[in-house]
Amino acid sequence: MTYSVKVLDHYEHPRNVGSFAKDEEGVATGMVGAPACGDVMKLQIKVGKGGIIEDAKFKTYGCGSAIASSSLVTEWVKGKTVDQALEIRNTQIAEELALPPVKIHCSILAEDAIKAAVADYRKKHGDPG
């Protein structure tokens, strides 16, 4: 398996690794994937006033491409509103990281993680979207 320069960069220097305290104001969590399938992504967003995502953190169990996809997504969602974050598509992630066909599922999982985190935010804040 050969990796693109961008995958290697995110893998070697993952951005925004970590966790927020679950009870912190504005924090929502999306966890997707399953250990048996070889990938689990946890994406947390911290939403401020006006529905802007002020910060994001991730932890990922998975291959280099899965780690890179989730690391990239934490950079992309920051500064966006939750609605704008939902517009991020897996194809954009795959293109940015030059993922080979066998690794497309990693970008799909990253998109799912955004959706799951936003759904958790809306559930906690009674925002039907």
Partner: protein, 403 residues
């Protein structure tokens, strides 16, 4: 200075020992004769070299040189043994027994036998990777004609109870084949006492060249095979094709060195392997795959829980090792061997096989230990599963969103 990457994949292949290479070279250039040429000294010289090598291969396993048939490697030996014996003895019965953790060269050949109308039983192993003698005995039927069990497993290095299995097969008149590709130079093999009828060997797992192997075919009691390669009737009709003199000379020398140096090599390598295991043993949630006692000295196969295998291999790219999972071949299938041990998928996914060898040094092992500590720590910091376990969550109770 350490040269990176460090080679810890001796079960995949070994370098040719320089002493072996030196012995091979004259047979490529000056001594190029065809061993089957009977009419001149070029042929006689090549034939003598092949026969001397045959003696050396036989000597390592305490067999007669007349029982050794040259092949292109262990895969061909396994094919010749299984197809050749099954086809020859088909009139006695059409049932074959093997094990789920065998090498693909045996498993895939058995699949072919199924297509040819044979019934094959694939036995489970115990959680330590070893075959249970009682379930083995129970799998044998009156129409069983052939059994194939490997001596040393290529992934987890466990040594199967070949002596006991051989006694059972002989008593029932069943042909017993043993794939010993991973065993030569690591385990003492005495074919004068083992009740083994057919045994496969490879040169390149034992510091010889690639592309050459051998099949032991017992003469007393005599074992018959249908040839799979037809032609000039070389190797007493078992396997036609001009002998590759330089390869054969290399295998002979490699097996001679194995016989001379096995004791000291194994002692040194076992110390290094144990040093590696000890160095890693303070890593939490580390699991050794396969029995540690009935195991060749150069193999260590471990799973690092809560870390995915492919990212682990990426992290340790300064080590040339193999992963139990076949992720790198683009299929995300975990190792079939580890699954046969009953390992959870995530543990099967996160395994590494270290295989040490003649040229491994203490310095290299110490480097590997330091590197693994650093990288395992980093990857676990990244792992949501590790975080959950630290929080006391039982991962088996979590409802995962399957995808």
């Amino acid at each position: 200075m350490l040269k990176l990457p460090i080679y810890l994949d001796y079960s995949a292949t070994t370098p040719v020992d320089p002493r072996v290479a030196e012995k091979m070279i004259p047979f490529l250039v000056e001594k190029f004769g065809n061993p089957a040429s009977r009419s001149h000294s070029f042929g006689w010289e090549a034939e003598a070299a092949c026969e001397e090598a045959r003696e050396e291969v036989a000597r390592l396993v305490n067999a007669d040189a007349k029982e050794i048939v040259w092949t292109s490697g262990a895969t061909e030996s396994n094919n010749l043994a299984l197809k050749g014996a099954a086809q020859f003895y088909a009139s006695k019965g059409k049932h074959v027994v093997t094990v789920k953790t065998e090498h693909k060269a045996v498993l895939d050949t058995c699949r072919e036998l199924e297509r040819q109308g044979f019934a094959v039983t694939y036995l489970d192993v115990l959680p330590n990777g070893l075959l249970d003698i009682d379930s083995f005995r129970a799998a044998l039927r009156p129409e069983t004609i052939l059994v194939s069990v490997m001596m040393v497993n290529n992934e987890i290095g466990v040594i199967q109870p070949i002596a006991e299995l051989g006694e059972i097969c002989r008593e029932k008149g069943i042909i017993f084949h043993v794939d010993a590709a991973q065993a030569t130079g690591k385990v003492a093999i005495d074919l004068a006492t083992l009740k083994v009828d057919l045994m496969s060997f490879s040169a390149h797992k034992t510091y010889g060249p690639k592309g050459i192997g051998a099949l032991y075919v017992r003469r007393k009691p005599r074992v018959r095979l249908n040839a799979q390669m037809h032609g000039g009737g070389h190797e007493r009709g078992f396997r036609s094709g001009t002998l590759a003199t330089h390869q054969i000379v290399g295998m002979g020398e490699a097996f001679r060195l194995a016989r001379m140096e096995m004791g000291s090599d194994n002692e040194r390598i076992r110390m290094l392997r144990d040093r590696l295991l000890k160095g890693l043993s303070d890593i939490e949630h580390l699991y050794v795959n396969g029995d540690l006692e009935h195991r060749v000295p150069h193999n260590l196969n471990v799973s690092f829980a809560y870390i995915e295998g492919e990212s682990l291999l990426m992290a340790v790219k300064d080590l040339a090792v193999s992963s139990g999972s076949a992720c790198t071949s683009a299929s995300l299938e975990p190792s079939y061997v580890l699954r046969a041990l009953g390992r959870d998928d995530e543990l099967a996914h996160s395994s590494i096989r270290f295989t040490l060898g003649r040229f491994t040094t203490e310095e290299e092992i110490d480097f590997a230990i330091r590197l693994l500590h650093e990288k395992i720590g980093r990857l676990r910091e990244l792992s949501p599963l590790w975080e959950m376990v630290q929080e006391g969550i039982d991962l088996n109770t979590v409802q995962w969103a399957a995808h």
